[in-house]
Structure formats: structure tokens, C-alpha cells
Amino acid sequence: MIVAERKSLERIEAMIEGMQKVLVVGCGTCVAVCLTGGEKEVELLAAQLRMKGKLEGHPRTIDEITVTRQCDREYLEQLIKHVAEYDALLSMACGAGVQFLAEYFGDQIVLPAVNTLFIGAAEGAGVWTQKCAACADCLLDQTGGICPMTICTKNLLNGPCGGTQHGKCEVDGDKDCAWTLIYRKLEKIGALDRMRIIQPPKNYRPMTKPGRYVHEAYQAAKKE
């Protein structure tokens, strides 16, 4: 899923300075799971902004709403009847949600309340780690299910650099060296030969931005 963190109150405050009416829009999917932009976090941010306004002598209206997903048109429809009266929509979704909201409500100011971090997994309570770099050409079959494009800081494809130390990364001693992990895993599953294959330079063309994907079934439908 997409993992995000909330921007500081100061940053958010600076974005909405002088505004009288702001709608905080939560997203009920990824950012709700990572405790950043779901219903509860919307409630908290709205309360903080109201309180800050009151304390600083410029009371304002801060309303709240949370949709199932901001990256899906069918859930944005329900916002139509609400948005016109606001100076800005403050989105707590990932960057995709913010942009989709801005695109959907073309006349409206849409602002980001979170920083989108990565595609990750829940490592434990309250801890998420990056697991995928969305390189568009998955090579996990070669590397024991551990991604060198993501876990190796230098995205090296042919083994560890000289900076690894006791199985840790030179860049951050708290992080594991991807290639030590890969080595141990391949050894465990009896597939060390895979580490002897010289991996060719990565093809970065599938990563050309902005990405676009049309499902096969829909491509066929369009042609007909």
C-alpha cells in the first residue's frame, strides 16, 4: 500500500493562511491504514486547525469529510454538493488522491496535508517499510523475493558494494544490506547460482513518467 506521513501543522497552516472556510478531505484506504489521512486523522487535523485559529484570533470554519478512495472518480462524486462553498480542499490522501481531487474539481484550490513516502508494508505496530520501487519490470524471481531496486540504496543489481558491514548498509547502519539478505535467502533455498548471473543494465523505459496502464480487456473493447 501507499505509505504517507502528515505534514507539520506549521506547513499546513502556512498553506491555508487567510482562508475562512476549509474542507479537510480524508481518504479511507491506504492512508487510513497507515494512520495518516483516514477519518480519525481528519478529525484531529480539523480540530487542531480550528483551535489554532481561535487561539490566534482569526476563527474560521474547518469542516471534515472522508471518502473511501480519492483516487477513484465514483467516490469523488459525493463531494460535488459540498465543495463550492470552501476556499480550499485540504486533502489528506497520497499524492495521487490530491491530484485526482484537483483534477476533478478544476476550479477549486486543492492542497496537500500529507507527504507521500513509498509503497510499503506494515513491519509491526506503527512501522512501515518501503518494499517496492515500482520499476515496472519485476525481478524478484532472480533475487529470492528481496528487491535490490528498493532495499539496496544504490539499486545495485549484481551484488553488494564495498560499503556493507556486518550485513548492514553503509548509508544507514540500522538498515539491512539488501545483498546480504538476498545472499542468505538464495543460500537457504538452494538457489545461489542465481547470484552468479550477471544482471544486465536496468531498462528504465517502462519507468518513463507519467505511467499509464490500460487493462488488456479494455484495450480490446476500445478497438472494437
Binding site: 544504490k154 545495485l156 558494494c161
Partner: protein, 293 residues
């Protein structure tokens, strides 16, 4: 050197290279003095490539200066700062400027250097960079296009004999050999018995190995390296030897240790030579070589 590094390996039992750190800025006077001091005492001079991710004059420009002054340059090339177009372009440029040797490196990460907010590249890794050099040597670029004039580089790579764990390092070492590395410079070695163990593995391949010798200037530096530099282990006995020296004698003791290490490597024929790194003390490299005699 007239014959070049490749010929030195062919003709000599023990090859010696040293390092030139390009300046940060355009004042090259000090560096030129060091080049002149070292060029006839060693078989090759590495020009470092934004070493430790600190922005400096390029390795390529310094290689050309080394050559103009009659030295044998070794172009260090990291994968950190350039994509495959820039790397190949610089390789062709190096060749037409008379550079014949390339040392391929991954490159320290940008956050270690003086532009920690920079975008790191790593479009190729060191194995792929070696393959690229091999392609250019065969008159083709990485995309398979014909070149009008090929290169003929003598390519090298780095290896860490005391890496932990060692096995993944050895697997990559073997890939580098297959990808075209003809010589290796190792991370600094101090424990020669451990190094011997590594050489037993390395000797299975037809490549030349230069042991890395880093000059120790104090016990504090040795402890710092043990703690902070991956793959370097200075044995406690050496640290004690440095600590026992009077304060103004520590550097001389370090020079004696480096000389002793080189002598043993040569006399016991443990490897094909040494790459001497005397960071900030390049002026003392001749003293180290004298101590090794």
C-alpha cells in the same frame, strides 16, 4: 611510465600504484607538485572521482595532467554521478586524451559528501560498467551501436578481502572478472594472514591483485577506521604500536608499519603489488616505499 600499467604487471613481480586527490577548486599547484613527486616512483597514479562524494576537479582532467607530466594515470570512475550516456562519453573522452587504465567503483553514497541533497544516479553498477568498457574496447557502445574507433582500456575493479560476510563479495568479485576486470585494488589490508586466505580464493582467477595499503597516522585514526570504515580491520597490536609511539613519532611509526606490510606482501609473494593510499600525506609515499625496501 613509458610502458603503462598493463606492461608493468606483465614485466614486474611487484607493481606499485598511488593516489592523487584532485583539488576542490581550480588551484592545482599543490597537486601538480605531488604528481611530479610521485610519477616516477610508482607504476600508476589513480585520480580519484569525487572521492567520498565530495565535489572536486574531475578524475578525467587530472588523468590528463598526470599524463602530460609523464605519469601513468588510472581513471577512477564511480557509478554514483553519471548515467550510462555520460559514463560512456567520459570513457571515450578519456581514451582520446591518452588515458589507458580505468578503475571501476560503485561510489560512496551522496549523503556522505558535501552535497548530501543530490540525486544519486547508479544507472549502472560496477559489474555493468566493466561490461560497458569491454563493449567499448570491442568497438561497440552499450546499446550495440558501432563506434568509429574503439577504446583499448585496461580495466580494474575493487574488492574488499575482509568483507563481512565474505561470500557475497567473492561472488561479485567473480562476476567482475567475467565482466572484464583485469586487475583489482583491495580495500586496506592490515591482517596479512586473513589476506592470505582471500588470496587463496582470488588466485583461482587470472587477474592481478594490488593490496590496498592505507597509511595510519595515529592510533586514533586506526580506531576510527575500525569503527567507521566497512571492511577495514586494524589489528589491536598495530593500534598499540601506534599508541606507544611518542606523539610526534606516530606518523613515522605509521610509515614504518606501511613499509613493513608492503615488504612482507612482496617478499612472501602474497599478491601482485600494492596500491598505496596516504590520504592527505601523499608527500610521504616515497618514505613508505623506502621503508618497504
Amino acid at each position: 611510465m613509458a610502458g603503462g600499467l598493463q606492461q608493468a604487471f606483465a614485466e614486474k613481480d611487484f607493481v606499485v600504484t598511488a593516489e592523487i586527490g584532485p583539488p576542490k577548486g581550480t588551484d592545482v599547484a599543490e597537486m601538480l607538485r605531488r604528481i611530479d613527486l610521485l610519477k616516477d616512483k610508482v607504476d600508476g597514479l589513480n585520480a580519484t572521482d569525487n572521492q567520498a562524494a565530495v565535489m572536486r576537479v574531475s578524475s578525467l582532467a587530472v588523468c590528463r595532467l598526470i599524463r602530460e607530466r609523464g605519469g601513468e594515470p588510472i581513471l577512477q570512475m564511480t557509478c554514483r554521478d553519471r548515467n550510462r550516456l555520460a559514463l560512456q562519453s567520459d570513457l571515450l573522452s578519456a581514451w582520446i586524451l591518452g588515458v589507458r587504465n580505468v578503475l571501476t567503483l560503485t561510489g560512496d553514497y551522496v549523503t556522505f559528501g558535501d552535497h548530501p541533497d543530490a540525486k544519486p544516479v547508479y544507472d549502472l553498477d560496477s559489474v555493468q560498467l566493466l561490461q560497458t568498457i569491454d563493449a567499448l574496447n570491442h568497438g561497440k557502445d552499450l546499446a550495440g551501436n558501432e563506434l568509429k574507433g574503439a577504446t583499448g582500456f585496461f580495466a580494474g575493479a575493487a574488492v574488499t578481502p575482509e568483507a563481512d560476510p565474505l561470500e557475497p563479495q567473492l561472488l561479485k568479485f567473480e562476476k567482475k572478472v567475467r565482466a572484464g576486470a583485469k586487475f583489482f585494488q583491495t580495500q586496506a589490508v592490515y591482517d596479512l594472514d586473513k589476506f592470505k586466505h582471500f588470496m587463496d580464493q582470488a588466485r583461482k582467477y587470472e587477474v592481478k591483485i594490488l593490496a590496498g595499503v592505507v597509511l595510519l597516522v595515529s592510533a586514533g585514526m586506526a580506531r576510527y577506521m575500525n569503527k567507521n570504515v566497512p571492511g577495514i580491520t586494524v589489528p589491536e597490536t598495530l593500534i598499540q604500536e601506534l599508541a606507544d609511539a611518542a606523539k610526534d613519532q606516530a606518523l613515522d611509526r605509521g610509515i614504518a608499519i606501511a613499509g613493513r606490510t608492503i615488504r612482507r606482501l612482496r617478499e612472501e609473494k602474497l599478491c601482485d603489488g600494492v596500491h598505496v593510499m596516504a590520504i592527505g600525506k601523499e608527500d610521504r609515499v616515497p618514505d613508505i616505499l623506502r621503508a618497504a625496501e
